[in-house]
Symmetry: C2
Subunit: 207 residues, 2 copies
DNA sequence: ACTACGAGGTTGACACTGTCTACATCTTGG
DNA sequence: CCAAGATGTAGACAGTGTCAACCTCGTAGT
């Protein structure tokens, strides 16, 4: 890649490692090794491993935001359909980027006080808040308690994503007669939440 | 405590540490230090730190199972009320035992192939499965796809618990006008899922 | 043109970790 | 009484994050 500072190279190396191996073994020295520099070099650009991870997590939040925004834009004008599309995009992003997504919710690996990270997280929640309030405006549930309603929706998609990434849906649900298919589970969730059924969009592949 | 083998003492020490400090810094050597033994002693009882953590996680699954069972028993006979109580008990347990609860879903800290741990997890899911099927029998949603419905319910409570433990509900939701009160959020979830509203049971305190 | 400086990289230390091995001790069954 | 197993100890090893000392440039200022 052109114009890549070595700082950006380190972040990219970490992200690549996450994509290939997940959180486990993501180590300052391993990143340095893969970037072809000495073990101390990354500390010239980041205060700590957690600071580097925070940058990766921040970029992941931004990627999530973009993926959700794209999905909502593609879903058209009907607010409930847009909210439904946002939920699908959220889970799709989380599963397709499980390494960075996990990092986003691991304050022991990131620095939770990182200002950029906090801002990116707030922006993502604000996006959800807007989608929910839009849907409320179109008659989806009572119009008050928007933040709480958003929290419930967030919990739902976050829970599905987390269990899916853990592999526990395949391992536990499918064994008991469920199909554990993510699209199917999300559709079921959204039927329960009184959201419209989606047009048939196949799963997988990252935006 | 009487009749406590040193193996049990190590597990109890780990659990106490988790209650006090959470996952961070939970280390074989720290457990040994607190138990007053040399750093190598725990390995006489457990193959690895992950094996010790698996025992703690297994016991946590059993505690969760018991808490949910108690709550369902106390909720009476109406299946939907029982399912509602199960959801509350789940989140209450997770928040009151956030250290062990986190461990339950951290395959990097436990040994996911541990047979006891797997069995305890399966038992907990079977319990939920039963509660959902009971509620379906009482007319709650269509009677098919029980496992998928259970997965959705699980995702919901797991998501709420996870975000609450992270503190992100206080930090992100409350700032945007939500009250982020767990009981309130759960009630909202359950209203959305068409479950009965609970009798007013105050939050907090572990069973 | 020369110099001072700062950004970035290297190397070697330090304390800490999990795990292994060799050794000591204590208990218990034959 | 003694042999064997269970349990605990001490030391080592490789790995980690982080720090400090050193080096090496390119560049800005004079």
């Amino acid at each position: 890649m052109a114009g890549t500072t070595s700082r950006e190279l380190l972040v990219a190396t970490a992200r690549t490692y996450l994509d290939e191996h997940g959180l486990e073994g993501l180590t300052l020295r391993e990143i340095a090794r893969r970037a072809g520099v000495s073990h101390g070099a990354p500390l010239r650009h980041f205060d700590s491993l957690a600071a580097l991870c925070s940058v990766v997590a921040t970029e992941a939040f931004e990627g999530l935001y973009g993926a959700v925004a794209d999905a909502m834009a593609a879903a058209g004008d009907e607010p409930r359909t847009r909210l439904q599309a946002a939920g699908h995009a959220y889970v799709r992003f989380a599963v397709a980027n499980s390494g960075p997504y996990s990092l986003m919710f691991r304050p022991d690996r990131c620095d939770p006080s990182d200002a950029d990270l906090q801002a990116a997280g707030q922006a993502a929640f604000a996006q959800l808040l807007f989608a929910v309030s839009e849907a409320q405006g179109a008659g989806w549930h009572p119009a008050d308690h928007t933040a709480d309603l958003a929290a419930v929706v967030w919990s739902g998609v976050h829970g599905v994503a987390g269990l899916a990434i853990l592999g526990v849906l395949d391992r536990t649900v499918a064994v008991n007669g469920g199909d554990a298919d993510l699209t199917h589970l999300l559709d079921l969730t959204q039927r329960l939440l009184d959201l419209p059924q989606p047009s048939p969009t196949p799963f997988g592949g990252e935006p």
